[in-house]
Each structure stands twice: as structure tokens, then as C-alpha cells.
Symmetry: C2
Subunit: 204 residues, 2 copies
DNA sequence: TGTACATCAGTGAACGCGCGTTCACTGATGTAC
DNA sequence: TGTACATCAGTGAACGCGCGTTCACTGATGTAC
């Protein structure tokens, strides 16, 4: 691939190089120098587009949250065809996102970067979370008031389960081999959970 | 604190220094040099007791798995007073361990070290996992055969939920503030899940 | 009890390395006239 | 259309730093006689 003195779209090229590196070596193994090299550019050139290493990672995470929020929104599909189906879809979307965008996922959840330090990042992260909370809210309305847990709690449960499945079973993780596919594990786990909420027939 | 030319118990002192550092800065932020310094010793001295940096982290993880397995065993308490109570106790034990031994926990689950490369480590890790699987097995016997999910699956669900709660809500994690205490989140999540399995009264 | 000696835990200096970041610069691009 | 010039993206050399690891060494300890 040829190019002249000017790159054309170095900023995005660096983001994509970072994505590959993060997916391969984790967010802490990622180095600015390697990203520059992968983009066929001097390390110093990075500073024309980012204030430094952390800023580059933050941009990766930002793009990740954007995609994630859109995916969740799409999965939720305004609660169609049913609140239950829509909610289940958001759970699946979480895992699908982690699978399809490992670099983004790791930058978002495993880079340890401080969300408070990047206000715009915190905002778009919140946006993604809101979708699932809305789905849980919608779902909870089907429950009799007396045994209705708060929607934020339901959302947190599903989020935690999804995240746990990803970290433990959808990676080359801590020898955590399991005889089940992560997708099946999550699907069945959510199923049992929803039955516990009284949203699915108790026997099946 | 005085000491002569010989330290006395440098090996364990290094492990404990590593624990503190890992708890503070994460397993990737941990450096051999800092651990040596914290133990009041030259970096080179470390090589009298460990083959290198990774070996030191592995030892930390090993001790962690030992404690973890013992804690799970204690929580399980041979299925007393009831399989259900014992199972719930293992779930709580997971979170309690993560809280009380953050350095160990991080070395075990967030250091990215390859379990295959340390066979003894893989063994003790498996031992810890076995306890929870046994608890799930014991529990599953109370279920009618037709709707009984495999014990390994139940165990995986609970493990994933616990791990997710720890990572997302029991750390200074990704801005993941939640209005619920991690302990409550896990407790209620497991409760709903067990109800879904038909092991708790459907309404309560 | 005293001396010689083997053992080995810890020293200190050195190494090569890749990192993030800075700086004065150069050369391509696009705009004004 | 052609020339002068401002802009600014990317260069290349250099920096200081801390890292993991090695090596020949030194000095404390414990054992044999």
C-alpha cells in the first residue's frame, strides 16, 4: 500500500491499528509506538491527532460505546415484538458485541481508564446503559406491583451475568473451559432468571 | 524494621509485597522491581526464589486459589444445613473472597496468566471450581429429572453472575455506579435464579 | 569450645530494550492574487 | 494558468525512564572435625 507524505486519514487508521493490537494483547499490552508502526507512521505523528496514549485508547472506547449503544437500541427494537423478547435480545446483543468487537470491548471494560476523566466518554457509556434499563423497565411493568424488583436491579443482574459469561467463557480466559457455548450459557441463564421473575412459565 | 544480610523469609515477603502492589495497581501495573523494593531487597535477590516475574505472579495466584478453595469448602459445609443454603453460601463466598483478597483475586482472574503453563496452578484452580460444582450437583438432585439442567451449567451461571457483579460493581470500575450494594445484587440475583429453577417458592 | 570451610542468600553494577514524549525540521497541499 | 506563500501533517533524532534479567561478587550462616 503506497502513500505520500500525508496519510489521508491517519486518525482513524490509528484507531483501527489500536483496535487490532488491543484485541490481540489486551489494553495494557497496547503501545502507542506499535500502533504508529502498524499505521506506517512515526510515533511522533500520533501527537498530531491525539494528546497521547490514553487519549487514543479513550477514542477507541468512545467509538465502542457508540457501536454498543446502537446495537442495544437495535436489539431492543422499541420493545417489539414483546417486552420479553426485546429484553432477551439485549442480553444476546451484549455477548454478540463482545464477540464481534473484541478490541472495542476490551478498551471499554478492561482498560481501566477513568471514565470521570473523559466526560464525553462517560456520557456515551451512560447512553448504552440506559437502553438496557429502559428494556428492564418496560419488562417490569408486566409484573404485579408487590413482587416487582426495581428495573435498575434487573438490568444490573443481566448485565453482570452477561459480563461474567464474556469474561470467563468467551475468552481464552483462566482455563475456564466449559462444555457449553457462551451463547447457550447466557441464553439459558437469562431464561432461568426470567422464569424466577415470573415472566416465563414455571415449567417448560 | 531491621534485618541483617539475610532476610529470613524473603520468598513470602515478596509474595506479600506483590499482593499489595497488584491490589493497588492491577496485575499488569505490578513490577518485579517495585516488589523487591517493597521487601527492602535488590531486584536481583528475587531470582533466588522465583524464576522471574511471571513465576512470582503465579505463586500469588496459587496461594489465592488455595485460600479460595478453602473458603468455598467452608461455605459449602458439606451441604449443611441444606443443599440450598449451602449453595447460596458458596455464591456469597465468591464475593467475600474478592472483597477480602483483592490482590489474590486480581492475580487469579485478571492477570491474564496462562494456566496451561503452570500445571500445579491449573490443578488447584480446578479444585476450587469442583467445590461449587459439587454444590450445584447436590442441589440439582432436588429437581425433577425432566427439567433438571446439568449441574455444571448451574455452576457456570452462578460463577458468571458472581464474577460479573465483582467486576462491574465491586470495584472502582467503569463508572458502573449502581444504587445497590454488590452483596445485595448478588443475593437477589441468585434468589431470582433459584426461583427460576423451581427451588424456591415462586412467590415470596 | 574453636577453627576451617562449604553453602547460598543477597549485593551492586551493568546490559539492552522499548516505552512515551519533545522538538526543530521538512515537504506536500491548498489558497490568494 | 502560474507563482508566492501560509498551513500543517508527518519526520527523525533525541531524551530520560524504568523495566526484567545477568553476572561476578560478598558476607552471613551452619556444619564437620
Amino acid at each position: 500500500m503506497k502513500r505520500g507524505y500525508h496519510h489521508g486519514n491517519l486518525r482513524q487508521a490509528l484507531v483501527e491499528a489500536a483496535l487490532d493490537l488491543i484485541a490481540e494483547q489486551g489494553p495494557t499490552g497496547f503501545t502507542l509506538s506499535e500502533a504508529a508502526k502498524a499505521a506506517d507512521v512515526t510515533p511522533a505523528a500520533v501527537y498530531r491527532h491525539f494528546t497521547g496514549r490514553d487519549d487514543l485508547i479513550a477514542e477507541v472506547a468512545r467509538q465502542g460505546y457508540d457501536i454498543f449503544a446502537a446495537l442495544m437500541e437495535f436489539a431492543y427494537n422499541n420493545g417489539k415484538p414483546s417486552p420479553l423478547a426485546a429484553f432477551e435480545a439485549t442480553g444476546r446483543a451484549y455477548l454478540a458485541f463482545a464477540r464481534k468487537y473484541p478490541g472495542h470491548y476490551m478498551a471499554m471494560f478492561e482498560s481501566g481508564l477513568n471514565l470521570q476523566a473523559y466526560p464525553d466518554l462517560a456520557m456515551v457509556a451512560q447512553k448504552a446503559r440506559d437502553v438496557q434499563e429502559r428494556a428492564a423497565e418496560h419488562l417490569a411493568q408486566n409484573l404485579p406491583g408487590t413482587k416487582r424488583p426495581p428495573a435498575t436491579m434487573v438490568s444490573a443482574h443481566i448485565w453482570a451475568l452477561s459480563h461474567g459469561v464474556v469474561e470467563l467463557f468467551a475468552r481464552g480466559a483462566p482455563g475456564a473451559k466449559s462444555p457449553f457455548a457462551p451463547e447457550d450459557l447466557l441464553e439459558s441463564g437469562i431464561g432461568i432468571y426470567l422464569r424466577g421473575l415470573g415472566l416465563l412459565p414455571p415449567d417448560k
